[in-house]
Symmetry: D2
Subunit: 241 residues, 4 copies
Amino acid sequence: MPVKVTVWSENYHEPREEDVRLRYPDGIHGAIAAGLTERLGDRVQVRTAILEDPEHGLSEKTLAETDVLTWWGHMAHEEVSDEVVERVQQRVLGGMGLLVLHSGHYSKIFRKLMGTTCSLTWRDAAERELVWTVAPGHPIAEGVPRPLVIGEQETYGEPFGIPEPDELVFISNFSGGEVFRSGCCYRRGLGRIFYFSPGDQGHPVYYHPDVRRVLANAVLWAAPAAGVGDPLQNAHTPITW
Amino acid sequence: MPVKVTVWSENYHEPREEDVRLRYPDGIHGAIAAGLTERLGDRVQVRTAILEDPEHGLSEKTLAETDVLTWWGHMAHEEVSDEVVERVQQRVLGGMGLLVLHSGHYSKIFRKLMGTTCSLTWRDAAERELVWTVAPGHPIAEGVPRPLVIGEQETYGEPFGIPEPDELVFISNFSGGEVFRSGCCYRRGLGRIFYFSPGDQGHPVYYHPDVRRVLANAVLWAAPAAGVGDPLQNAHTPITW
Amino acid sequence: MPVKVTVWSENYHEPREEDVRLRYPDGIHGAIAAGLTERLGDRVQVRTAILEDPEHGLSEKTLAETDVLTWWGHMAHEEVSDEVVERVQQRVLGGMGLLVLHSGHYSKIFRKLMGTTCSLTWRDAAERELVWTVAPGHPIAEGVPRPLVIGEQETYGEPFGIPEPDELVFISNFSGGEVFRSGCCYRRGLGRIFYFSPGDQGHPVYYHPDVRRVLANAVLWAAPAAGVGDPLQNAHTPITW
Amino acid sequence: MPVKVTVWSENYHEPREEDVRLRYPDGIHGAIAAGLTERLGDRVQVRTAILEDPEHGLSEKTLAETDVLTWWGHMAHEEVSDEVVERVQQRVLGGMGLLVLHSGHYSKIFRKLMGTTCSLTWRDAAERELVWTVAPGHPIAEGVPRPLVIGEQETYGEPFGIPEPDELVFISNFSGGEVFRSGCCYRRGLGRIFYFSPGDQGHPVYYHPDVRRVLANAVLWAAPAAGVGDPLQNAHTPITW
């Protein structure tokens, strides 16, 4: 059975900024979705959703049909309704995989799941990013070159205000001198979360074959083997074994 | 310099239930505060605060003078204002220590910092709890007997809906058959969090000398060596090294 | 392609003690192997090996054909040759999965991979063991009852002298009062290691359907997705990207 | 009471290579010892020991008087006797702190405590190293600039064949493009271990005031609060609570 993926993006830059529209004519979500389909074929069933869709395209029904959700946001984090964020959180805790991408580090859903600031430092200087694998046995790193070279990218720097990752997979080196924990795995409730920092509206990163490889690996890693269930919210009851 | 501790409790049961009032004539907060002073003397400076105080006794000024906050709540979690919870979270991320006690597992502040359900299973049957040390070198376990024996206690059971602890210090065995991760350490932002499950309004657990020892150890462990600072909320700025 | 499993046991008790021989007429290794085949069918290809085989049945050739090795030992840890232990370690670091069972906690290979004492406390009193899942989303816990009930088992107790597990999946409660971290996951090099404590020569634990389920789940979890490779031993070389 | 520190070094390069002797006239151990005394004054009591001393200067008596041991080695790892390595390991598991420095990553004692290859990639090209703090609340990072700038250093690169650190404190960026997990904390048995990569015989890194600050912080962090005891080797006995 294919993994059901919903690729979410705020789609804020694309209609407003010509350079982004030219770079991502089908939207950032379109490029991400195409990459997953390109690499995984019929192992996935991909749909997209954006902020302006009803309920941001993340209705109960859609989430109930989603095994893995990918999240890209930047300018419009605060426009995402708390109700939808709560709904996504419950679904993650119940087993749905979540990929949080690039500036999504500051999204409501990531901050809510992490419990920390999720802040970082940054500089927009089109620097070269080298993504180094530090966990060579991890499924998300499978087949990824060491290093994965991204010619131009926004720079992200430490300290990154996250809980210590359950598994740290990638660390990036930027030509300007920074380092960044660019690939971080978390287990929360029954769900798996992967944060991956490469990917910016200002650079064509989501067409990069090895970035696509990482995202495809991560979708397979985050997919719930046993389906998505009750987030144990109701386990707060007397024991009856 | 003494560690400045604020002992917080909802103080819900005490005025409403005679058995609790007889058990804890100075409130649960009073018993916890007395235990810390008894064990740590002038190494701590302890104050108490309760739900019905203005701003729940947790004003900006009070928090600014608090190195470690202890939190006990049960029936009135939802009555704690979101504004105060947000304020406490920011302070923890800036370095303030936080001890979350017993049914405080379901408090707004713990759930907000963990990002998960924090649910558990329970049974009120006055069972014997044995608290076993699994991290014998940890400062919080110093001098704690193996096992720490609590004659009667509410039973808590797994699965406990928390992120995997950064350090697991204690696991409890209940005579009814359950186990529970009863002593869990977290690092979040610049702050340290310790969850400790023994302690219930229905049992005189906070007079137990070894429970008091654990809480005293935990206060010293959680105290910020370098003071409490900015939670790096504002680090979301260009790099300037 | 089936996962190639080698089930290793010292086979010390079986020829020497009638009660063990009656309990495990095909050896402890035979019971474990049968359980894996019963549950996984042609998803696995299982062979067994014992201490008295040439090279303990763990020649270079056999290991080269092994995806997951399971290890049971008790009385004869010191009779395992250092050369074979070194060979197994290198293979694990290169990606082979390893399941360490019960008294195997004190084997040379487990101690070598952990770097710690791996000591524990114990009592042989045929107590009831309840194995509780603390990581409900973990693949090794899939389908395992909460609790998994073992009528009679040797008691193991904390402190267990291991590094903090990368993922803690099970904690056991013994009717005599102990707790024990009975299911512990580690990532070492490119390999995955799972320690599981239930299973003793004095009790028919390896016929228990849910113990068999755990072992089957663990084999699938530990199998190297990308095959077994160089343990990066030779990566100690100049960088050439 | 002062923390008793033994600074160990193989002292291989110094008598053989003039440039190293000129750089470190009192030996690498001498420079490290001087740095600790300079920063910590009478909070520490520092002695040194080298490979050619009887029992490598690490007799039972010396170790019994050591709270924290620092280890620098490079060319002569294999000349360290297994007996001494075993002795140091037992002492660490009993609570002694251990700081493993630079090329000490490949020492017998570090590999024995980690259980992995501890291999890495490297290049000797006098590149600039920037050491970034990723755990700003950690005591070892206290007062350390972000970044700590080392003008010229040997380059170390990932993958570094270690178990995932219990706490990752520093990550380095090298001007040649590499990243490296340069500050890694482990808890093993009752002891604490800190690996810190900056420091090479070919560069005057151990005179760098901020490197000295890190080492001083690390000595205080690794010192056993409750003294050094039995490594629980003998806990493998029946339970008697």
